[in-house]
Symmetry: C2
Subunit: 120 residues, 2 copies
Amino acid sequence: MIVKDVLNQGVPLDLVFQALSDPSRRVMVERLSRGPASVSELARPLAMSLPAVVQHLQVLEASGLVRSEKVGRVRTCRIEPQALEAAEQWIVERRASWERRLDRLGDYLAEHPDEPERKK
Amino acid sequence: MIVKDVLNQGVPLDLVFQALSDPSRRVMVERLSRGPASVSELARPLAMSLPAVVQHLQVLEASGLVRSEKVGRVRTCRIEPQALEAAEQWIVERRASWERRLDRLGDYLAEHPDEPERKK
């Protein structure tokens, strides 16, 4: 049953959704979606210590949402769009499936205006 | 910094993303996106006990992704599309922000073909 996830371009959806479940990490992703940033730039709007920010960064990197590179003394972080896209695609597919069902239900009700909805 | 989430139609994104971080729960959401199901129908494709399925269901309900209703001895579960839509919207906004940045970068490079990209 997890085949679909594994085929999902190799993106570990467990880790991606887990990474996005924290508001500070979402603030970091939000910042990085506007362009690369150093760790201290990422930390600026967050009310936490630098080591705590680094820990969140490690979760984001493990999920594939972010990558970082150290040049000299500065570590620069960037968004990795593929992981976000995989998460978006999973949700979009569920919505499409749900909307198709609503369409079928609408068709059925239009064709059978006098009958109550039946359990399928 | 969490204001945006709170305004997000009241949907608790922490809990939604957390709920989606488990593959069994994603299988349950996937099944429910195709129509309502009883708990035992939800359990069928999952290699786990019914109590374990009920626990996952509770996580899904707490996140707002799913609601369930017991009639007689059967508990019927349904998807709640608003929570999924809020998660999708959050991701789509990040992608839009990232794509705008790429567009700006593309414009800059087109106007300055001889210069390397500079740190902003």
